[in-house]
Every structure is written in structure tokens, then in C-alpha cells.
């Protein structure tokens, strides 16, 4: 009897929780882009904060994180961290919940289109890979060089360890101009380190050996060897 009471209480609280967060869930519908319907799937969840991810099948976007999620129920706004490029910002979404449907506007590259999303289940927010801690041997400044189609590039990588917190990195590539490459993620697995930049579509991956990192810089079709050494 006591168990039953507890169960009923738990279910009631769960129901109350969901009733409080009607925006939470997996939402699916079509964005009415002229001449092309694009399927948009949005997962919105509320724990300590609102989080979410989005999938646009056919546009090569799967589980992209939502950024700047702002909820003032029944309204929600966010950006989808994907589909950006030179002079093109990530798509922004503004929507309002009414009659169980999420209706709003999808903005990309200055174009806007209406959509209606329906809730098709609980949220399945995709977890994004995060930076790891790094060992002391990786810490500090590294320098290297490479060449793309005859154009020389100089690389400076500064890796910062934050103890038990995730590491951070500054990556600067100097060619004809100075490129401060925004780093999304630093991950170390054994003697292997990976630096990712979504904005530049760039990854550096390398293995530390004899106080140098022997690796490859990957960017689009470019795969070039880059050895990073301590500055003299």
C-alpha cells in the first residue's frame, strides 16, 4: 500500500513536470522553403537549463547542438550550430507553442520560412563530445609549418590544462593573413591528441613522441602532415 502511494505520487509529479514543460520533447515537421520542403527534427529538454539538438535530414545535419536556447513559454528561440560558412551564420529558429503545435520561423542566410512542428515523443537530445583533460606533457606552446598548394602556413598551438577540468586550446594559423581558429574541442586519448574547429571545418590529430607531436591537419580535401615542436 505504501509502495502504491509512492508510485502514484511519483507518477503525479512526473506528469506535473511534463505539464510544466510542454515545450520539452521531440518535435518534427517541415520547413516550407520555396521549391523545397526540408524536414526539421528538434529535441528540446529541460533539466537545470534548456538544452537541445536538431537534425535536418538531407542537409547533412545530424544532432547539431542548439545554442542560445531562450524559453519564455509558450515561446522558444534558438540557433542551430550547423550550416554556417563564410559570411553565413547558423540558422535561427523562433517558435510559439499553440494547440499542441510548435509554429514558427526558420531563418538562414537572411531567408525565412514558416514551419509547423508536431510533438512525436520525448526528447532525444544528442550529447555533444566534450573536451577532455590533458596530460602535462601536452601543455604549453607548440609550433609547426605546412604548405597547401604552394602556400606556406605557420601554426601555433597553445594547450592549456585546467587540472580536472576540460583542457582548452588557442590555435593560430598564419598564411597571407592571421587566422585565429576557434577551437571547439580538445581531446586526449593516450598519447593521441585531437583539436577540432567546426567553424573552420578543421581537425588536427597527432601523436606525441620524443617531445614533438607528429600529426595531420585535416580540412575538407586537405590532409597534410604537420609536426609540432616546442619553440626554441
Amino acid at each position: 500500500m505504501r509502495f502504491q502511494t509512492g508510485l502514484i505520487l511519483f507518477l503525479a509529479m512526473a506528469a506535473l513536470c511534463c505539464a510544466d514543460e510542454p515545450l520539452a520533447g521531440r518535435w518534427s515537421g517541415k520547413v516550407q522553403i520555396p521549391g523545397r520542403e526540408v524536414l526539421l527534427i528538434v529535441d528540446l529538454a529541460h533539466e537545470a537549463n534548456w538544452t537541445g539538438s536538431a537534425t535536418l535530414p538531407g542537409l547533412n545535419v545530424k544532432g547539431a547542438p542548439l545554442t542560445g536556447v531562450a524559453v519564455q513559454s509558450p515561446e522558444v528561440a534558438f540557433a542551430i550550430k550547423a550550416m554556417s560558412g563564410p559570411n553565413i551564420e547558423s540558422p535561427r529558429v523562433t517558435a510559439r507553442l499553440a494547440d499542441g503545435k510548435l509554429t514558427g520561423e526558420f531563418l538562414q542566410s537572411g531567408n525565412s520560412a514558416r514551419f509547423v512542428l508536431e510533438k512525436i515523443g520525448p526528447p532525444q537530445v544528442e550529447q555533444q563530445p566534450r573536451s577532455s583533460t590533458i596530460a602535462k606533457e601536452f601543455e604549453g606552446e607548440w609550433k609547426g609549418e605546412y604548405e597547401v598548394l604552394g602556400y606556406p602556413r605557420k601554426v601555433t598551438l597553445k594547450l592549456q590544462s585546467h587540472g580536472t577540468e576540460a583542457a582548452t586550446a588557442d590555435l593560430v594559423i598564419v598564411g597571407r593573413k592571421v587566422n585565429n581558429v576557434p577551437v571547439d574541442r580538445v581531446t586526449q586519448q593516450g598519447d593521441f591528441i585531437t583539436i577540432d574547429s567546426a567553424a573552420f571545418g578543421m581537425t588536427y590529430e597527432g601523436r606525441i613522441k620524443n617531445d614533438e607531436i607528429q600529426g595531420q591537419l585535416l580540412q575538407g580535401p586537405i590532409e597534410t602532415a604537420v609536426v609540432l615542436r616546442r619553440p626554441k
Binding site: 523545397r36 553565413i88 542566410s109 537572411g110
Partner: protein
């Protein structure tokens, strides 16, 4: 003929509209138009990707005749002494009666093909040979002194008797020749996708010199002469996919200067007049004017989208097509935009191919590296009525084709 004369100066007689007034007419074909119109008398001639060669009344836009080939015709005809000369993707080169469209003769080349390479432009699979969908033009002929000269996907530059179609000579290069040869002082000038630019003796087909452009063993993106040269005052001006605009001595092939466009193809054929070189780039979408003697930049303007169309200069105005479906008229001196014409397809902007600023909306175009990715992307790009065609200016009107399937007359 293509670019107005055998030397390909890209200069046309005025007047030309400094302001946009109206679409005088537009002529519908069955497929996209990449070819540039040429005029002879009152008739306008051009090729269509529907396989037809067309003659249209330049005043009314009414069809005079059409003649079917067995492949797309993204080449610009030459009309000389009542005969029209043009090549087709069916691998044949045609001579037609300019008044009636009747076949006078045709010549079978070794067959057409597009430039291709393994892992082209970084597409996957890396070890698979992939044809280049941006190799979009066929070589346009130049006709001089009873001979017709053109390049072919079979790698040859051909010289045929203009009256009979008999082969005078052929010159073998190492890859596709889709650039259009220019002619000056008894020499045929043309570049090949083998990364070399050639000067060939027009009499006997012997090589006078060759110039080596850039190479790109990694992804074959920065290689090949797709641009057609202009020859003015003993200097050959040509763009290259290695992102350079070259000025070469016509006599020796020695490099006088080059302009580095930082990995952005120079597909346009430069126009040269009054000591200035007019050209544009693809990815960086820049419209340029440079000093013809020194190569110093005089003007650099944002063109908003890729430009494959070649600039046409008429007095103080320059016209150029843009792949976002607009025709731009610019002031020759300042490079400033005077007016733009936008195709209906560009205004519709299906699938958000363009941003609101009419730049290419890359995330909505190129989103995979599969070998068919760029072909699909190009199909989307061309849906906005892209203007590959180089504008012809005659009788106060501007004529050009669009991938929306229309040829336009604007005055």
C-alpha cells in the same frame, strides 16, 4: 565570333545602355543556355544545351531557324562569310548556312569529354576518376583567312579548311582543350587542361612556345586553362584555374606579370582595351580591372557570386554575367555597379540557393563530398538562371543567355 574578334579583345561597338530600361524580348529554348550570342546582320546566333543551334531575329526575338545536333552546344558560334561554325558535345564540329541553318559540312573530332581526375576537388572516393561539372564550356572557334581553329575534349587543337571542313593540321595537347583559341599575327594561342598554354603556328600547326601554369597533384582543383586568351599589343592575357591571371609575351611566352587571386579560379576571358584588363574570379566573386602594362590592380569590386561569364566592354560600360542569375552593368573607369538585371528564377530563389544578398548559400548547395555532390550542387546553382554567357552588345541592346533556358535582349 566569341569575344567579338579573332584576338578576343572583348570590346564591342556602342551604344550600350547605361541604364536599365526594359527586357526587349526573351527567347525560350528547351534547356539551359551557356553559349554566348553572336550577331551577323540582323540575326543573332547561339547554341543551346537542348542540342540546337539557333538563329533569332535580333530586333523581334523571333526564331529564324534552328538546326539540331546530337549533343548540347555550350559553345559560341563564329559566323563568317555566310557560314556559321560551332562544335557540339556530340563530338562533331559543324558548318551551317547562316541564312538557313542547312548543313554545309561536319567534321568528327576524336570525341568530346570533360576534364576528369581522381578525387577531383576533394570528392570521394579519392581513387575514382570524377568528371568536372564546372568544365561547362566547349571551345568556340576562331575563323581567319579561310581556316577555322578550335579545341576539343580529345586534347587536340584543330585547324580545318573553312570551306570544306578538311583537316589542315591538328596539334595534340595533354588534356581537354575547352578554352577558345585566339588568333594574332599568324599564331593561334590557347590553353589546355594539361596545365600548359600554347602558341601554335597557324600555317603548319607547329608549336612556337608553351607556358607552364600551376599544377595541383592533390585535388586537381588548381590546374588547367579554361579561360580563353586575349591578345593585344603583343601581349597574351589569360586566366587560369591555378588562380592566376597571366600576361605573357606573345612572341616568346615569357611571363610579363601575373595577378594572384588566392586560390580562386579565373575562368573569365579577359577583355583588354585602353591599357586596362577586365576580368573576374569564381569563388572570391571579385570583379577586377588591372593595368595592362604592369598588372597593378586598379579596381576590385565585390561581384557577389561566381563569375564564369567574360566581361564585354562598350565605351564607358562593362557588362558581365554572374552565376547568381544577374547581369551586371558597371562603369568602366570606377568598376561601380550601374544597374543589374535579375532573372525570374533568381528572384524565386528556389531551395534558398542564394542568400538575401544574392551570394551563393553554400550550406544549401554543397553538403557532401560524394562524387555526385558537386553535380547535384551545380544543378541547384544553375536553377537560379545563372549567366555563363558572355554578353553581346549590338544596336544599343545587350544579348545573353541564361541557364533558365532563355536568351534575353535588354536595352
Amino acid at each position: 565570333m566569341f569575344r567579338g574578334d579573332p584576338a578576343h579583345t572583348g570590346v564591342y561597338a556602342g551604344p550600350a545602355p547605361r541604364q536599365f530600361h526594359r527586357v526587349k524580348w526573351r527567347f525560350a529554348t528547351g534547356n539551359r543556355i551557356v553559349s554566348s550570342p553572336v550577331i551577323s546582320g540582323k540575326a543573332l546566333y547561339f547554341g543551346g544545351d537542348d542540342g540546337n543551334v539557333y538563329a533569332v531575329d535580333s530586333e523581334t526575338g523571333r526564331q529564324i531557324w534552328k538546326t539540331k545536333t546530337r549533343g548540347p552546344v555550350p559553345a559560341t558560334p563564329a559566323v563568317v562569310n555566310g557560314t556559321l561554325y560551332v562544335g557540339s558535345y556530340d563530338g562533331n564540329f559543324y558548318a551551317l548556312n547562316a541564312d538557313t541553318g542547312a548543313l554545309k559540312w561536319k567534321f568528327a573530332t576524336g570525341g568530346e569529354r570533360r576534364f576528369e581526375a581522381k578525387g577531383l576537388h576533394g570528392m570521394q572516393p579519392k581513387n575514382q576518376t570524377i568528371a568536372d561539372s564546372f568544365d561547362i564550356f566547349l571551345s568556340s572557334p576562331v575563323v581567319v583567312d579561310g581556316a577555322v581553329y578550335f579545341g576539343s575534349g580529345d586534347g587536340n587543337v584543330y585547324a580545318l579548311d573553312a570551306n570544306t571542313g578538311e583537316l589542315r593540321w591538328k596539334f595534340k595537347t595533354g588534356d581537354v582543350v575547352h578554352a577558345s583559341p585566339a588568333f594574332a599575327d599568324g599564331v593561334v594561342f590557347v590553353g589546355s587542361w594539361d596545365s600548359y598554354f600554347y602558341a601554335i603556328d597557324a600555317k603548319n600547326g607547329k608549336e612556337k612556345w608553351r607556358f607552364h601554369g600551376g599544377e595541383d597533384a592533390l585535388i586537381h582543383n588548381q590546374v588547367g586553362f579554361q579561360s580563353s586568351p586575349a591578345v593585344v599589343d603583343g601581349v597574351v592575357y589569360t586566366g587560369c584555374r591555378d588562380a592566376q591571371l597571366y600576361a605573357l609575351e606573345a612572341e616568346s611566352g615569357k611571363e610579363k606579370w601575373k595577378i594572384d587571386n588566392q586560390l580562386s579560379w579565373v575562368i573569365t576571358s579577359p577583355a583588354v582595351v585602353g591599357g586596362k584588363v577586365y576580368f573576374a574570379t569564381s569563388d572570391s566573386a571579385l570583379y577586377h580591372v588591372a593595368d595592362a602594362v604592369t598588372g597593378k590592380w586598379l579596381v576590385k569590386e565585390d561581384g557577389r557570386a561566381y563569375m564564369f561569364s567574360s566581361p564585354s566592354v562598350v565605351n564607358d560600360t562593362v557588362f558581365i554575367g554572374v552565376l547568381n542569375g544577374t547581369l551586371a552593368a558597371r562603369d568602366a573607369a570606377s568598376g561601380k555597379l550601374l544597374w543589374e538585371f535579375q532573372t525570374d528564377a533568381s528572384k524565386e530563389n528556389k531551395g534558398w540557393v542564394l542568400t538575401v544578398e544574392r551570394r551563393f548559400n553554400v550550406p544549401m548547395l554543397f553538403f557532401d563530398n560524394w562524387h555526385e555532390g558537386p553535380i547535384v550542387a551545380q544543378d541547384r546553382q544553375l536553377s537560379v538562371g545563372s549567366i555563363f554567357s558572355s554578353p553581346l552588345v549590338a544596336n544599343g541592346a545587350v544579348y545573353f543567355g541564361s541557364t533558365d533556358g532563355f536568351v534575353y535582349a535588354i536595352d
